[in-house]
Symmetry: C2
Subunit: 406 residues, 2 copies
Amino acid sequence: MSNYHPLTEAQAIAYARQIPQLFQPGSELSSQEIGDGNLNLVFRITEAGTGKSIIIKQALPYAKVVGESWPLTLDRARIESEALMIEEALCPDLVPHVYAYDADLALTVMEDLSDHVIMRRGLIERNQYPLFAEHIGRFLAHTLFFTSDLGKNQQEKKLQQGRFINPELCKITEDLIFDDPYRNSDNNNIEAHIRDAAEALWNDSELHLEVAILRNKFLTQSQALLHGDLHTGSIFIKPDSTKVIDPEFAYYGPMGFDIGAVLANLLLNYASQEGWSQDEESRSAYRAYLIQTVKDVWTHFEANFRALWNERGVDRVFATPGYQDYFVANLLRDTVGFTGAKMVRRVVGLAHVADIDKIEDAAARERAQRLALRIGTIAIRTNRQVNSIDELIALATQAVERGFAL
Amino acid sequence: MSNYHPLTEAQAIAYARQIPQLFQPGSELSSQEIGDGNLNLVFRITEAGTGKSIIIKQALPYAKVVGESWPLTLDRARIESEALMIEEALCPDLVPHVYAYDADLALTVMEDLSDHVIMRRGLIERNQYPLFAEHIGRFLAHTLFFTSDLGKNQQEKKLQQGRFINPELCKITEDLIFDDPYRNSDNNNIEAHIRDAAEALWNDSELHLEVAILRNKFLTQSQALLHGDLHTGSIFIKPDSTKVIDPEFAYYGPMGFDIGAVLANLLLNYASQEGWSQDEESRSAYRAYLIQTVKDVWTHFEANFRALWNERGVDRVFATPGYQDYFVANLLRDTVGFTGAKMVRRVVGLAHVADIDKIEDAAARERAQRLALRIGTIAIRTNRQVNSIDELIALATQAVERGFAL
């Protein structure tokens, strides 16, 4: 990586210009750095004559979160670009196209998706995306199935796993999701008005056992190449299109972790509806949309996954009668557990979600936080007993109906 | 690997001579190739004046089994030497010392253990090894604990896992242990007199489901750096010393696979006692020794493993109350399942064990085969319900008591 240097906007233009067949020779290009500067530089390069644009995403050699800065491997740019290309081969309509990857500069040149919005913002604005559940269910089924021992030759899978050993980014997850929220850690970010609820998490040994079991799965269960950070901030969306971005946390892990990330972020928005001023009827209607989406994501995932298993499975042994049902049942349980873990960390851990944090009214924000914690902790506590996605939906709706003991 | 060539005996002497501080300069060295020629060349180099000897083990670029030959990666020599060095750092008394490793020639120079015997032969001769259970229990506990997320920094573990992606040798296990025995495969090696029992395996869908679950664990559960082939032919022994050799199948997999390999080979010898002419009393006595050893291996393993967990654990989360018991209970179940799978494959699969195959009397050999299959299949069938090592012992002793329906 000795040639690495962060690009200026002018250098980004020069870099884009030398990629074959991207822009017209000699055309006027403009560059704008649109990243948040915490982890990556993100340049949008636009061709004046045609309006055509592309994105250059360059990894920075450090991470900045809440003012702190620590070194972070540039190899994550390779992981991100390779994962995007694997995903594109499996679901060409559901990820941005990668034009080029440069190992020295730790950058990826990819399709510009600025006609889409970040899904988290779309949900905060209470938009509905009727195609999303089918899209993401298919994305999850195809990426998880075809990178696992079910859909990929076992020896090729092992070699691919060797390319996605991702210790530094995995450690962020291991700490921020499966450790800090359950103890009095400096990494936590806890609003004073829910301090009691956070302390209850720290003292709940039944919950800790389930979190330890989930953490062990994250550490040791090499089922499939995960996206690894599939929240609604990693999804670009518009009514007719869904694009999954930012797979820099990709590694071989438990399938339920990716599915749970999607469901958790839908349910975090579900909890956040406490806080957005609207009449009760439209609040209920939007919640009904979200809860239906939770169900539909799982249903589309399961239908796609089982169809792939039946039609495209590469493993004779896994065609054993009963094994698919056994596998899917366990996968649902993992999914519910990871859903819960990802909800809890977004309320008391280091990184929150705008769905809840941007609620201005403190009492309403607190209601949303407590609701998210309630859904999350029940999901964690019950994950190993769940037999149907309807049980996750029931616990979420019942958590709303029961109200709050503030 | 472009400089690779199989050594002659003279070249082996020349190679040994240039290793510093091994032999006296100019001393007379003799070389003898003592391997079986199927996978590796094994040279013993002896110094005439001192009697000092060492072993040079060189991988061949193919495997020969039952007359067939197929190409096999030379990288297994690296895996073997690295695994030996990791094991030596953890249990210096329980593996041969490695003097040198040569990547170009795919060879390892190591301690000569010719004062030991291969344990399988020792058991066939009905020797008893009172220190073995403590030795192997400690070996298993230390190697499995300190290479797992329990005893090794999680990020270093991931990097080490990346050095032990071992697709070719894993495939041998995936096929020969978890696939072929359960179908009419050309790879099987089935004596005509137990054809009915083999066919019963092929048609037992309940058994197939358990085997699929075990196979999935072998494929995806990256708990610890396994030896990967820990049968009694991979153990050199004498009354006061145990040395584990040949870790070329090493990879990150489920801990129970290594423990099960040890127990399975003790129980295969237990089954083979049907066939060795001796009075009933000495047969029972030797069986009692073997069954006590099965129990002691698990007991020593568990005691060491729990002590390491309590005293040397690196992971705060895994100190959660109840988690160790949960982990050990599941590990025992995995162990019983893998024990069963490793017994079945040694009766109907490609590679058998001399304990049984060398029984000359066909009727007695058949009794031993059926007994091994009975113990193995019950272990597989019940593995997920087992709560104590005594249950494995009970099923083995009851299988003998019940006799045979030939």
